[in-house]
């Protein structure tokens, strides 16, 4: 009994140990199994994070590098273009002021020593000069006051052909096509500049007008004609309804124009212009001023208008940093068509910078505008 009891006594403590041993084994197994899994998962996660992190970093750096490269390319391209334009400008300008000379243009030389020089040399030279002007006009026409070069070349054509009339038959008929080419180029440049102005125009503001007149009504009067009879007067309509309305204005400023045309010269394609620009005083426009004051003259100019007047360059400076330009659209023996354009100073050429007071006024106006829009937003929110 006692032995059995002893046996019984000794057996029971062994059973929980075996159970515990068998339970521990499962956990152990799990633990043993999970360790490498966790380790490999951790490694995988680290690897994935590393991979994606690396990728992101690479991508970011590549983006940054691309941006830097792009900026560098742009600035280099700009530099190269500026340098090219500078060289081109120098080259064309230096070539432009060389004299057109025949190798031997006197009649005696030709009669004595054969033809050293032919009229074709002069024609070639003129063509090349016009080509150079084309290059200048199309590349620098928006920033350079190029009108004088056109005028100079136009008179050069006449002068050179006339000086070589012994070798160039009927030189006046030869000059015609060269002058036409110059005028066509000028028209092309002017219409390109007009397109630039129109592209940035607020569609609600009409800011141009056309004048058409029969050429013979304003032609240079003959000796037996009264000069005053050959003057054409045009003025924009001063209609109070228009004044009260909001159609005929630029940035809220209403202007009227009085234009007088005379002395239209068909040989040189010029017309004398006298222009008065009238403006409605700002107080009256804002209806703070109830007086009967009408529009006031703010500019009065007399000038000769030809095809070589370009809107971005040859314009009249007005208040509120506005500009007014008048150009010839058509000019022939039948009619003269002019176009007047009013546009903001930001479209004027780069050399035409606003005055300091205009810049300050602009800043103030912008500040007021921002404050007004902020107030309006607040009111909408409330």
């Amino acid at each position: 009994m006692s032995e059995n009891e002893q046996q019984d006594d000794s057996n029971p403590p062994a059973a929980p140990a075996a159970v515990a041993k068998s339970q521990k084994d499962i956990w152990d197994k799990i633990e043993i199994l999970s360790r490498p899994i966790i380790a490999s998962l951790t490694a995988a996660v680290i690897a994935i994070i590393g991979f994606f992190g690396q990728n992101t970093i690479t991508e970011l750096s590549s983006q940054e590098q691309n941006a830097r490269l792009y900026t560098e390319l742009l600035s280099r391209r700009e530099e190269a273009e500026s340098s090219l334009r500078k060289d081109m400008f120098k080259e064309i300008m230096s070539g432009f002021f060389t004299k057109i000379e025949a190798k031997g243009n006197s009649k005696e030389q030709i009669l004595e020593g054969g033809e050293e020089y032919k009229g074709d040399d002069i024609k070639d030279n003129l063509s090349k000069k016009i080509l150079k002007l084309e290059m200048l006009a199309l590349n620098f026409g928006d920033s350079l006051s190029i009108g004088p070069l056109f005028t100079e070349l136009s008179s050069d054509i006449e002068r050179v052909l006339m000086a070589n009339r012994n070798t160039i038959d009927d030189w006046k008929t030869v000059a015609g096509p060269y002058q036409k080419r110059l005028r066509s180029l000028a028209k092309r440049l002017a219409s390109r500049q007009l397109a630039t102005i129109s592209s940035g125009r607020n569609s609600s503001d009409k800011n141009e007008f056309k004048i058409s007149v029969k050429t013979e009504l304003v032609e240079v009067p003959d000796e037996d004609e009264d000069s005053e009879s050959k003057v054409f007067y045009w003025m924009s309509e001063e209609d109070q309804n228009v004044v009260d309305g909001d159609k005929l204005k630029l940035d809220g400023v209403i202007r009227f124009f009085e234009i007088t045309l005379s002395n239209a010269d068909l040989e040189n394609y010029t017309v004398s212009v006298s222009i008065k620009i009238l403006e409605i005083p700002e107080d009256k426009f804002n209806k703070k001023d109830n007086s009967t004051r009408g529009p006031e003259i703010v500019a009065h100019e007399d000038f000769n208008l030809d095809f070589f007047n370009f809107p971005l360059i040859d314009n009249t400076r007005l208040s509120h940093n506005h500009r007014f330009a008048l150009i010839i659209e058509e000019f022939d023996s039948n009619t003269i068509e002019l176009k007047g354009v009013l546009f903001p100073g930001v479209y004027a050429s780069q050399r035409d910078k606003p005055f300091l007071n205009e810049a300050i006024d602009d800043l103030k106006a912008n500040k007021d505008k921002n404050e007004d829009s902020a107030k309006a937003q607040e009111e909408t929110v409330n």
Binding site: D170, W171, I211, E237
Partner: protein
């Protein structure tokens, strides 16, 4: 008898004045410069009545350049003038078919046709000009005024 004679003479004179007249407006035609092929050309004819005399002004537009007919005289059958193209030419254009027959380039041509000659410097240069009157009827002064008014009206007030 005397009255009939006076009437006849008056009628003849008025007929010749009409015949001598150049129609105002745009004429077209051709010009053949010395040693060159013929080319299209445009003319602008204007007239002015001074008492009993009618004076004419003709401008030729060739290669976009105006050339004035200087010292222009117009009579029943022909017109004479000086043309300066850089070289001065003396020109005679005729309406008469007999005269035109003598010039090769003017045979069977309508309107005024003739030649301009420059014979200075030992070289003879020749230009042939043919002037054709406007196809449409000349505008009356009323029509002219109306059109002028139309053109003079401000086309667009856009400022």
């Amino acid at each position: 008898m005397v009255r009939i004679l006076v009437l006849l003479i008056t009628a003849l004179i008025s007929h010749s004045v009409f015949a001598a007249g150049l129609v105002e407006g745009q004429w077209n035609g051709k010009i053949t410069m010395h040693g060159k092929k013929s080319d299209e050309v445009r003319f602008r004819v204007r007239s002015k009545q001074n008492d009993d005399l009618v004076s004419y002004k003709v401008d030729m537009f060739y290669k976009e350049r105006p050339f004035k007919f200087e010292k222009l005289t117009v009579d029943t059958k022909e017109m004479k003038f000086v043309l300066d193209t850089g070289v001065e030419y003396d020109c005679v254009l005729s309406l008469d078919d007999k005269e035109k027959k003598d010039i090769e380039d003017c045979k069977n041509k309508e309107g005024y046709c003739g030649k301009c000659i420059h014979s200075g410097d030992g070289e003879v240069r020749k230009i042939i000009i043919n002037m054709l009157p406007p196809l449409e009827a000349p505008e009356t002064s009323e029509q002219d005024d109306a059109e002028a008014e139309k053109i003079m009206d401000p086309i667009d007030l856009s400022l």
